[in-house]
């Protein structure tokens, strides 16, 4: 249990530390070290859970099982690699005068604040605290979106704040309804919002209340997942904020919001005994998947392009969790991992490419491979991976989603295939001229740290070729937990 407290304590201690020292040149390294320590704590926690099973803290406020522990490790890992990239990146932004010392302090403090909120969302056992932490994640990142203070970034941040704020308020209403249903059976007291207690008594809860509660929870947390039609904030926030922010928003925040929805689905399924929650998730997921795939074609800004790709993949995951069979759940968990590794790698590369070209407009980014081969190839390989080409992990997970869909809903398979094809075309029509193409005059290589990208892409490649036994075991256990059966 000590590992959990360490995991939450490290970013908590990091916030005041970086608030004081965030403007020093070594702040980037300090940030990375804190994230490295958190990763170590998360691995310790994972080993703990692997050996001794689910853990409940004293006071029942924290709960770790095989479902959230693997997301904790993933969160810590992406947090670390992104912070490795963010150090030199923010230093470069300071040199060209886009951020001041004060804003740099804010940036690093909120980086740790965001990580804290993410860990709390994942590890808490209290559905209410989960909401508080989710709102905390918005509050931590909203000022970072407007870090550059351009009119566009202020607009993006305002939209992000208002949409996510109002959206997540719906989730609080859902939580109140959940508590209302639980109190009728369990009596007044603090226990009725604990996830373990709710899950244990799910069958006794009033189905009418729970189905209404789930609608609100799905809309609320769905805003943060970026489900269409609640996705408007996502491309704006991703494109106008600093690039490391885009990487952790896309790689972590969206995942953790989906995690929250799935936790709620587990409760509702236990109470209703019908497929209502799954059907809702399938509908929203499929809509997001198709709409985002179409919107990919219209983009002019490189970060907006990849944020639409994030919506598309989150839609696919929501859909797969909605299908709900063990295979589909396994595929969704797997896709969460591969998507978050690939997408954060892509955003890091995109950040470098934008610094290299001095713009985010795709029609002005040209000849990356000729100017700086590592960035050009990084972007190309990353795009190949995210578009779902073999042998990368995204292919494997998307293929699994397809197979699972074919088994339960064969008539939806062509729709999925159409979406995947559309997304592929949408990505490549933009990427090809950027990567190849003639070099514009005066474009020079920049100092780039592509080690995180390579590590991520190598991991995705590895996952595409074979899932390591311990990871497969994790996925199996989490699948069993969520869908109630082992994947055959």
């Amino acid at each position: 249990m000590i590992a959990v407290y360490l995991l939450l304590g490290i970013p908590l201690a990091g916030m005041p530390l970086l608030a004081l020292r965030g403007d020093r040149p070594e702040a980037g390294r300090l940030n990375s070290r804190l994230n490295g320590l958190a990763l170590l704590a998360s691995i310790w926690l994972a080993i703990d859970v692997l050996i001794s099973g689910p853990e409940l803290s004293t006071g029942q406020l924290l709960y770790i099982d095989s479902y959230n522990v693997y997301l904790v490790v993933l969160t810590a890992f992406v947090g670390l690699t992104t912070s490795l990239f963010s150090g030199p990146y923010m230093e470069h932004e300071r040199e060209i005068g886009r951020v001041t010392a004060r804003r740099l302090r804010l940036y690093y403090t909120m980086y740790q604040g965001f990580m804290l909120a993410m860990y709390l969302v994942l590890t808490t056992n209290n559905v209410g605290v989960m909401w508080v932490a989710m709102e905390g994640a918005t509050l931590a990142t909203v000022l970072l979106v407007s870090l550059y203070r351009t009119p566009e970034s202020v607009e993006a941040a305002w939209k992000y704040f208002i949409l996510c704020g109002v959206g997540i308020a719906q989730a609080l209403f859902g939580t109140v309804l959940l508590y209302f249903a639980a109190e009728q059976k369990l009596g007044v007291g603090g226990d009725a919002l604990l996830w373990t207690v709710l899950h244990g008594h799910a069958a006794e809860l009033d189905p009418a209340i729970l189905s209404l509660a789930f609608v609100f929870l799905l809309v609320g947390y769905g805003t943060k997942i970026g489900l269409v039609p609640l996705h408007q904030w996502l491309p704006d926030a991703h494109s106008e904020g600093p690039t490391p922010m885009s990487a952790i928003l896309s790689g972590l925040l969206l995942n953790d919001a989906l995690y929250a929805v799935v936790r709620c689905k587990m409760l509702v399924d236990g109470s209703l005994g019908t497929h209502l929650a799954g059907n809702l998730m399938m509908g929203f997921g499929l809509l997001s998947f198709l709409v985002a795939a179409l919107f990919l074609h219209r983009q002019t800004d490189i970060k907006r392009l990849f944020s639409y790709s994030s919506i598309e993949h989150m839609g696919l995951m929501t859909f797969a969790f909605g299908v709900g069979s063990p295979w589909a759940t396994f595929a969704a968990l797997f896709h969460m991992t591969t998507h978050s590794l690939t997408k954060s790698a892509i955003f890091v590369t995109v950040g470098h490419a934008a610094q290299l070209a001095g713009t985010q407009r795709m029609d002005r980014i040209r000849g990356l491979i000729l100017t700086q081969p590592t960035i050009g190839w990084g972007l190309l390989i990353g795009t190949i991976a995210i578009a779902g080409f073999p042998p990368f992990g995204v292919f494997a997970s998307e293929f699994l989603v397809l197979v699972a869909t074919m088994h339960d809903y064969p008539w939806l398979t062509p729709v999925l295939l159409l979406g995947i094809g559309l997304a592929f075309a949408g990505l490549f029509r933009h990427i090809q001229p950027m990567v190849y193409g003639d070099v514009p005059e005066g474009q020079k290589p920049i100092q780039a740290n592509l080690a995180p990208v390579m590590v991520h892409l190598a991991l995705v490649l590895w996952l595409g070729l074979s899932i390591p036994a311990f990871l497969g075991n994790w996925f199996n256990q989490a699948t069993h937990l969520i869908s109630g059966a082992w994947p055959q």
């Binding site: 406020l61 508080v132 566009e152 202020v154 607009e155 993006a156 209403f173 109140v176 007044v188 603090g190």
Partner: protein
């Protein structure tokens, strides 16, 4: 069930629920920002009163803390903060234009009916008070959204946002006798931080578009520029 058969406490809660819904409608029709914030403060006080009443009658001492939090945050701190911002930004004479006020009011009424319609199956096993509480709080949430949709001033958006939170708190107090303390404190903390962040944003928005009319925040869109 006739209303006279209810206990005095239940009648009082129903009255407060009605008043809270009324303040939401008042906000919807109020175009002066200073008065809008005043009505919002009134709503916060009504919420605090309902919470305190529940605490004393039903004997849940932890609700007193919740009532105090509501009163201090929603009734005093946030309205005062907003008033000061309005005066500092010279917005106290500005009239926010409301397009089609009559239609907005009609839409508000429709939302109220809709809230009752949604709440009915949920609370069929519960008392009249719970039904009204859930329906009114859902209506306050939806009316807050309608307020945000129909306004252009950033201040009005913040008031709408905060009044949504009021609706949620009211549901939590009357239907479930408050949330667990740790959640209650966490939510209050989030609301406070959100209020501060909103203040920061006012300055950022004003320095970027020279006013607080969020209609002018329209640079980012999917339409080709």
């Amino acid at each position: 069930m006739a209303i006279t058969e209810l206990t005095l406490y239940q009648q009082a809660i129903l009255l407060l629920a009605g008043l809270i819904a009324l303040t939401s409608f008042l906000m919807l029709g109020q175009s002066r920002l200073v008065r809008l914030v005043l009505i919002f403060a009134l709503q916060g006080c009504l919420l605090a009163a309902a919470t305190a009443l529940a605490a004393s009658v039903l004997d849940y001492p932890h609700l007193y803390i919740s009532a105090a939090l509501s009163f201090i945050l929603k009734g005093l701190v946030i309205p005062i903060l907003l008033q000061r911002l309005i005066h500092r930004m010279g917005l106290h004479r500005v009239m926010d234009t409301i397009d089609h006020p009559a239609r907005v009011m009609m839409a508000g009424t429709a939302l109220m009916v809709f809230s009752y319609y949604v709440s009915l199956p949920v609370v069929r096993h519960s008392t009249l008070v719970t039904l009204n509480a859930i329906a009114v709080s859902l209506a306050v949430v939806l009316l807050g959204m309608l307020l945000m949709i129909t306004r252009r001033q950033a201040v009005a958006h913040v008031v709408g946002f905060m009044s949504i939170e009021n609706g949620l708190f009211f549901a939590a107090v009357v239907a479930t006798y408050g949330m667990p303390m740790v959640v209650e404190l966490g939510v209050a903390f989030d609301v406070l931080v959100a209020a501060v962040v909103f203040g920061v944003f006012f300055f950022q928005i004003r320095s970027s578009i020279d006013s607080l009319n969020v209609d002018q925040l329209s640079k980012l869109s999917e339409v080709d520029r």
